[in-house]
């Protein structure tokens, strides 16, 4: 169970219904391909994209809006933590410390009905 006030835990535990049985495990979620790119591709941009950047438009999606409302502490923590990722090089190397939290966010948004294609693009 989440500790009260713990920003690293979703305030609502995700529920896996029939539609979400193909949710990735944490190991699958963060598995790197031969080039070192994690399976979740651009999922981190939901938090890392600066407000004036193109990927920030993905935050308009209902699943993110709901997540940010219901899990504001985690959303704000990830947002503030991931704004410092350098623009050059490989983003994955900077994301490793946050992948468990990103996974919590992923599972939660999957429970809202978002698909991997929606979340990883």
């Amino acid at each position: 169970m989440s500790e009260p006030g713990d920003p690293t835990k979703p305030s609502m535990p995700p529920t896996l219904d029939e539609a979400n049985r193909d949710v990735l495990s944490l190991a699958e979620f963060k598995r790197r391909d031969a080039r070192g790119v994690p399976r979740y591709h651009n999922f981190y941009l939901l938090f890392a994209a600066p407000p004036d950047s193109y990927p920030a438009i993905y935050r308009d999606q209902p699943y993110y809006q709901r997540f940010a409302t219901e899990n504001s502490k985690l959303a704000n923590f990830l947002y503030s933590s991931l704004q410092v990722i350098p623009k050059t090089g490989s983003p994955a190397q900077y994301l490793e410390p946050f992948e468990s939290l990103l996974y919590d966010a992923y599972v939660t948004m999957r429970s809202y009905g978002a698909s991997d294609d929606d979340l990883f693009r």
Partner: protein, 242 residues
């Protein structure tokens, strides 16, 4: 028309593709090819159909679709050649940048590295880059320009070119570009591939990536200093792939 420069001791394979209303012998395309060749790559350059090179067709029939199909045809032909190897590198300028990047989105496992220079991102963004010219083009039905690549040639392009281009967009599948990507653009490229549009694609690249802005450079590099700067960027990037 395809030109293959075969490396004596081949370390890799690269395709270099020109942009709209251009050809394989444009200095900036030759410089990209040289950068690969000097690093031990066999390099394939070709004239797209409906372009201003040695291949067939009329410029007014040139489309983004025909650029992509030509690239697919050349790569398909290459698979039967002794020098063919995977993964290979793709580089292209402007509409050639679009075709190479779109191919890489479709077949990411085949690509060692991707280098779209001043690339077209989408038809929608092409219109937004210069809305006034687009309005005039649509109203008159034609865009008419004097060619810099082929002196004396008047380039006439129907609005149907844009109707085709609007169906093309790199952004929805940009997350599939997991290979190392090098992007280059001139800071004076304001009405064709402005830096603001380049960063939209760049921000969506999930793998190892670089974006270089060449100061004072327009859309098509013709100044030898700009071309040399681009070649040096390519050289360092190609070396980083090994």
């Amino acid at each position: 028309m395809v030109l293959v420069e075969e490396a004596e001791h081949q370390k890799g394979l690269a395709f270099a593709m020109h942009g709209l209303g251009s050809n394989k012998d444009q200095p900036q395309i030759k410089a990209i090819a040289e950068a690969f060749f000097e690093n031990g790559y066999t390099v394939v350059r070709f004239d797209c159909t409906n372009s201003l090179g040695e291949s067939d067709g009329a410029f007014e029939n040139s489309t983004a679709t025909n650029f992509l199909e030509d690239l697919e045809d050349v790569i398909a032909w290459s698979t039967s050649q002794s020098w063919y190897q995977e993964p290979f590198c793709l580089a292209g300028s402007s509409l050639g940048g679009y075709a190479t990047a779109r191919y890489a989105e479709k077949f990411p496992e085949k690509i060692k590295g991707l280098a779209p220079k001043a690339t077209t991102i989408s038809g929608t963004l092409s219109i937004k880059a210069d809305p006034k010219r687009s309005e005039e083009w649509k109203a008159s039905g034609w865009r008419v320009e004097v060619s810099n690549t082929k002196p004396g040639f008047i380039k006439r392009l129907p609005w149907s070119h844009m109707e085709d281009r609007i169906t093309h967009d790199l952004l929805p599948d940009a997350h599939k570009l997991t290979m190392p990507v090098l992007m280059i653009v001139g800071d004076q490229d304001r009405e064709t591939s402005p830096i603001e549009h380049q960063t939209m694609l760049y921000d969506l690249l999930p793998g190892k990536k670089e974006l270089h802005v060449i100061k004072g450079a327009p859309h098509t590099l013709r100044d030898p200093a700009h071309i040399q700067e681009m070649k040096m960027i390519f050289d360092a990037w190609i070396k980083s792939l090994n």
